[in-house]
Subunit: 269 residues, 3 copies
């Protein structure tokens, strides 16, 4: 498999500064906005049923994360996702802890009917969405990436979307092409909501690179991998990691992204 | 125009540590609280209809920011703003993205009837509130400050309040006196919700300086300008900027504020 | 009074990484999650009535903080607290500003009937819960720790729970044993929601040390005391303090905790 240079994806993001409508959990809102601004996208957070469809229709992308879900938010998420589907606006689903409660499973199933462009999830969540046994313990991923790679491919084929399954190693697939990405740093799981922010960043990258959704998704994950690695070199713990990570995303160049991403093509498993 | 030394405004804030009742968006809550604590005010966040009026009545100031608006919050905001108006408590309106949806315009029009002391907004929002064409793209300001200065003056005169319009250059006006303020750093727009926090800080400054609302507003903006400039000198990106900015607000002295603020009197345009 | 070495409590936390179901205020969510992850616990934030009991039943601990209370959240908190009581899951109540409004007093009284394991509060809140005069000014503590020590003992005896009253000096009591803890740094009150995060950390420590709830509570507070002191040595203000504090919690060893905690046994006053 060949794909567009990842650096081009980042250059396009910075040139177009896509407006990403983020419906995300309360824990992640601030950090998500900062991650997008640091990298080069433009975040906007709003969720009221009175305005959500109106706003999604004018945004360049939508990102839905169900972390701190509630009934009114679930309703608004349906409105936004339906609008994104109707207006052909790229949208990303982040099904936080979908295997943990029936409420989450029900809401996610309804959201899937609006055809997300990308599902960004950990291994447990991918397995739960694919209908395989979930060993999800709250928001942790306890299934191994190897166990879940097959589930990711199955889910991508069934939903006709990209699945970006992140963990120590990331797996990105559109059902036909499968890629593995390494990088990052062991401190990353010690900082909350980095994955949530990544979902919104994927939305921005896909919006800025409409012709290349798989490479765009990969580029977003590679930004995290490289910036995470760099931040980890300087950090003394999760506090200094967060600071260095935002700085590294800001300083990251398209050339860095093209030359330093650790991508490997996978064959179906 | 002459005005009170800005350093006096900061000294008064630190001496009285005004309790600022903040009704702000989910993205901004944590950073707003930290910005107020670093500078010398005392934040409290609560919003339930069951208690909001009771609390506003005992606070020294109120700050309302409609960022992540919803119907229940809009109702509580009306209760709080009405209480502030009735009890003569200074209050600040931050009309985030008011031009973006009908819902926001409707809620803001209702809030304006409770006579805010100060409106803190970007150029697009000022133009939308003034009834002029808004080019607002979500939460971004795309109207130039020059285009919007006239709108700010018009809005201040119509509402009989102070308008603090922030951007690369700030314009502060009470309808009769018009001031321009420069400072800050290009990294500031790369950090989320600094403007939201500034609105709450303005509320604190006005509460601590009831006789001098225009100078108090100017002092709050000047704190951001000087601290932002200093933080920018040390920062490697938006992560280290945030850290240095909180430290700079904490270290800022009244003498710094009086001597380093870059204020220029404007004539009506 | 003798108690288990505090370092053992931290070692147990890190070995079991307890899943702490956090129902906390919007201001505190992100910082609470990061404080738990840095120290070694696993946070999960969710609050919908549709799922909250289901989740509490599988978590290792529950922490309820009423900071940005609303009627739907109050209802969910009752469901979660009742579940924790029924399933014998340790749970912590953080009654933010309980003395400030009638709404908060009513909600806290109902929550107390579900028998919290620990109440973590400042002096004003302890006095309000104990039914003594509160001088609470919003979320600030204006009652002195000395004034409130008696109230803490009374409350612990009446509720048959641990009361962890924090301030410049902390007082921890189960009604029979009373301990005083010093440490920390004057910058800590200049950073928002550290106390809120501490409540959730107490929940994690108690879950990881079911046989020793008093020592576990003390260990959580001692982590904050030592890490706060260390962070304060390096910080230039509240921005760099936050970064250094997360790093210090991450770097803290069980040996540090056993050797450096400043604990003193109290006699009833």
């Amino acid at each position: 498999m060949t794909y567009h240079p990842l650096g081009d994806m980042l250059a396009a993001l910075r040139e177009s500064t896509p407006l990403v409508h983020c419906m995300t959990n309360y824990v992640a809102m601030n950090s998500t906005a900062n991650l997008l601004l640091a990298t080069g996208a433009s975040p906007a957070m709003l969720h009221a049923a009175e305005e959500v469809a109106e706003f999604t229709a004018m945004a360049n992308a939508l990102s839905i994360n169900i972390g701190t879900l509630s009934a009114p938010w679930a309703e608004s998420m349906q409105l936004a996702a339906r609008t994104a589907d109707t207006t052909d606006t790229p949208w990303v689903l982040d099904p936080v802890a979908v295997g943990a409660t029936e409420f989450r499973q029900r809401v996610c199933q309804a959201l899937l009917s609006h055809r997300p462009s990308v599902i960004r999830a950990n291994a447990s969540e991918v397995m739960a969405l694919a209908g395989l046994a979930s060993q999800g313990r709250g928001v942790d991923a306890t299934a191994s990436v190897d166990d879940a790679t097959h589930a990711a491919m199955t889910l991508a084929q069934r939903q006709r979307c990209i699945v970006a399954m992140t963990g120590e190693t990331d797996v990105i697939t559109d059902g036909s092409h499968h890629v593995r990405l390494t990088g990052g740093h062991p401190l990353m799981p010690r900082v909350t909501t980095l994955g949530c922010g990544l979902s919104a960043l994927v939305a921005g990258f896909v919006a800025a690179n409409r012709e290349h959704p798989l490479a765009a998704t990969l580029a977003a994950l590679a930004c995290f991998g490289i910036a995470g690695h760099r931040a980890g070199q300087q950090a003394k713990g999760p506090g200094s990691f967060q600071v260095a990570f935002l700085d590294a995303l800001y300083q990251l160049t398209p050339e860095d992204l093209s030359s330093q991403s650790q991508v490997e093509t996978l064959h179906a498993v």
